[in-house]
């Protein structure tokens, strides 16, 4: 079984850069929301913080690219996929519960739906760079 390719090389460079962008955007947004008005929409803001954490972990794991980090990257991308579809669906079905938006609201509409596509690309990239049998 060959060693898996590093997730930070080739197209992975761009993927890590996109993840870093979302990590920055989600973290900054979440810090501002929690620092200035947490009480007004605790559910949305807690989810914002969770999304930010997932993006930070995914950026770090894909950016490291070494075998020990691969399971971390798989987990982060999987949680991200579940998160964006769960939060997206919840925000569409029950808008009243989301008085302010998160990165994942409406499947990431505010960010050009990139948050909905990104975990699929991340998982596909992990699959492609995986060990050859």
């Amino acid at each position: 079984m060959a060693e898996p390719r590093s997730t930070r090389e080739g197209p992975g460079r761009v993927l890590v850069a996109v993840y870093a962008t979302f990590a920055l955007a989600a973290t900054a947004r979440s810090l501002v929301q929690i620092a200035t008005r947490f009480a007004s929409a605790p559910l949305a803001y807690a989810l914002s913080a969770a999304a930010a954490l997932v993006y930070l972990v995914a950026t770090l794991a894909l950016g490291k690219g070494t075998p020990p980090w691969r399971p971390v990257a798989w987990a982060a991308c999987a949680v991200e996929l579940v998160g964006v579809f769960a939060v997206g669906t919840a925000s569409v079905r029950d808008p009243a519960a989301f008085t302010d938006s998160t990165v994942w609201s409406d499947y990431g509409q505010g960010y050009g739906y990139v948050p909905a596509v990104l975990p699929l690309v991340g998982l596909a990239w992990l699959w492609r760079t995986g060990a050859r049998r």
Binding site: P11, G12, A17, V32
Partner: protein, 121 residues
């Protein structure tokens, strides 16, 4: 803050995105001229940081100062980080990182203008 300068920077950053995308399609690594263009963009952003901080201190309107300055600083750091991350890959993918960086820079400029003109900050 000069809105014209912010728009100018936004369009210059978009031009860098188009340029870097073409270079990526033509399978080129980061070349000297694209690097010089990024250096020029960086100088404009540093000038904008100075001008923006002076303007936000001087203005009598209510502007969300913390967010505004955070965006100014992020805008300055972004090209540096994208060159460090992109240029360490000597293939077309390094160039693609810079295309993405230019796009994010232009989005930052548009958000900066929104924060500056927002009523009550």
């Amino acid at each position: 803050m000069s809105a014209a300068a912010a728009w100018g920077i936004a369009f210059a950053a978009l031009a860098i995105t188009v340029w870097a995308s073409l270079e990526c399609v033509r399978n080129r690594p980061l070349g000297d001229w694209l690097f010089y263009a990024l250096a020029a963009l960086e100088m404009a952003l540093v000038a904008q940081l100075v001008g923006g901080v002076v303007a936000v201190v001087a203005t009598t309107r209510a502007v969300d100062t913390v967010t505004f300055v955070a965006y100014l600083v992020t805008a300055v750091l972004l090209p540096v980080v994208s060159v460090l991350w992109g240029a360490s890959d000597k293939t077309r993918w390094g160039t693609a990182v810079l295309a993405l960086g230019g796009l994010v820079s232009s989005v930052l400029e548009v958000r900066l203008l929104e924060i500056w003109t927002a009523p009550g900050g």
